[in-house]
Amino acid sequence: MRQQSMFFSARVDEKLADVRLQANLRKVKDNFVHVFAAAKHDYNQEADFEALRDAGAAIRKRVLDNLDIWLELFEQNATARGASVLWARNGREVCEHVVNIARQHGVSKAVKSKSMLSEEADLNAALSAAGIQAVETDLGEYILQIAGNEAPSHIIAPAMHKNLDEVADLFAKTHHTPRKTGIPELAREAREVLREHFTSAQMGITGGNFLIAESGSVALVTNEGNARLATTLPRVHVVITGIEKIVPTLEDLATLLRLLTRSATGQSISNYVSVLGGTRERADPEGPQHRMFILVDNARSGLLGSDMQPMLHCIRCAACMNHCPVYHSIGGHAYGWVYPGPMGSILTPMLTGLENALELPQASTLCNQCGDVCPVRIPLPELLRMLREKQTARGLRPFRERALLKAWAWLAERPGCYALATRFARRYLAWLAGGRDRIDHLAVVPGWSKGRDFPAPQVRTFRDLYASQQRTHCRGS
């Protein structure tokens, strides 16, 4: 997917004015936030969700601290069971591997179950350039694909920016069927259309929620069942996943699943969890004859050993965006790449370059709603703040901001001038307020005051107040 995070500010206005999007975003708040709270409450009746988060974070940390060892163990156990393990440094290599596999096995059609790494790699474009049809089978991803390859706007509900009418129109147009208006009817139509594809595809491409080192297998979590179909019917199964997705044991998998499904959709478990490895036995009535794991770096290794390493704990549950006031206001597209919300504001600059996503680390109030809900305890606001520091250290902030801060620093070092300036500023603001307690337009920061009011200043500056307090205090004693 083309990275367009540089257009963040420009897109924000557009998204704020989009009535349809705003209505859909209100549902994020209602649906995800409440079900998560309920799921946590339910879990706490029998156990301790905070202890579960500790365990989840510990598992992720254990793996990342010795990732080289765990990768080798995974590879060893996966190949011992008859799967192949391939490695890709970047998106281009992912595409090369998949196209090669497809050619080797005479694949003309591939069914895909959600893989965000394939979006990082822009795999669909590469497959179509190689003459291989790729069909997305997650309903949300399918809607985006037939809408002309639109970008996902949420990591687990990728088409949440679309409403029923748009989907109904799209289906009627694409499938040449009478227009349906009920969600169950549309879901059935998608099921029927996609069944044909599942039957005729020779290859299934999936992401991987977790890779299990102990058994050399991948765990896939879905509610729709599309990952099961994509890994049961076609004769080739390709797993594309980041190198950081490893967990040591099946016990650790059970722990992370408890966290993932509750944090994602408030479910105690998703409808389908599949643990897949090796290839079919001769007597098996179904299952792939070939299974390939593509382990992808795509800049992840650069985070290891740095203060940003905890970001690799991420299990892609979406809780951080579901609880983010900024995401609630603008949705996912404004972030301009595969991953939106707080996790995206960190991953995008880390994986695609600090200078290519300058505004994302600023797109946060640092309110810590995300850090509070992250199931694997990633200190998201802390990481965002560190990214801001890195931007400053590398001189990547805009001239105006740097100049203003320099001016402020100059003043702050000179108490006399500072007192004079603040006194003057107070008078000016009081004049602007004209007796009211709010100022609705500030000429120095027109953009900022467009959507906000600035409080009118109190009667005196803090410094004046403090000075007179000190005087009375001294007299009193």
Partner: protein, 220 residues
């Protein structure tokens, strides 16, 4: 070849990032292997009370439906009852391990083979069932086709009460004890398939079954 180059390159970058003492690589590998063989249990719910009851309660919460029968021999009649009550065809496929049940006596036409796209009813057993979440644990295998629980619109599962365990960890422990290795697919199924992808509105029936009906067998 990109393959081996990429592998070595990625592992080298990972090692460079982590910056461990190279002399410690064997120690670190041994620690990882020790961790694997210890199979430590993490913080998890301790279920109090009857596991069967708990399983049933959670299965209902995941939108499965339930019936209880005294023995395996009563399964065909229970299946016929369910299909009739829901206006579903009295015809389907079952796992080959259930071929010997007297389906015909209950007025059913059941074939013991893997399911195809035209089969409307699939009848399976379960390797075990998980009380914590109301989940079936199904293993792929010659006699236990994965398609049977996946392709038909209606999935009926026979669950011996004696095979209900507390959590997923216990299911894995049972699998290690009874089979040693994992089959190519271990599928956990919790109720009918669903999607919330249109307007975040949940509907039952996506790519998998629309209905999951569980028959709890008191003794087998």
């Amino acid at each position: 070849m990109t393959g081996t180059d990429s592998r070595d390159d990625i592992l080298a970058r990972v090692r460079a990032g982590l910056a461990h003492d190279p002399a410690l690589v064997d120690t670190r590998r041994r620690a990882a292997l020790d961790y694997l063989s210890a199979r430590a249990q993490n913080s998890r719910p301790r279920l109090a009370g009857d596991l069967t009851q708990r399983f049933c309660q959670r299965a209902l919460a995941m939108s499965s439906t339930l019936d209880r029968v005294a023995s395996l021999a009563q399964v065909p009649a229970a299946v016929a009852r369910y299909l009739t009550a829901n206006g579903l065809p009295l015809k389907g496929v079952c796992w080959t391990c259930h071929a010997a049940l007297d389906w015909a006596a209950a007025g059913l036409h059941v074939e013991a083979r893997a399911a195809g796209h035209d089969d409307l009813v699939g009848i399976t057993g379960a390797f075990c069932a998980i009380a914590e979440t109301g989940t079936l644990m199904l293993l792929s295998g010659a006699e236990t086709a994965a398609t049977t629980s996946l392709l038909p619109e209606t999935h009926i599962a026979i669950v011996p009460a004696s095979r209900i365990v507390a959590g997923m960890e216990d299911g894995f422990a049972l699998l290690r004890a009874e089979h040693g290795e994992l089959p190519h697919a271990v599928n956990f199924v919790s109720g009918p398939s669903r999607t919330g992808d249109i307007e975040l509105t949940l509907v039952l029936g996506a790519h998998g079954p629309y209905r999951v009906h569980l028959l709890i067998v008191a003794d087998e």
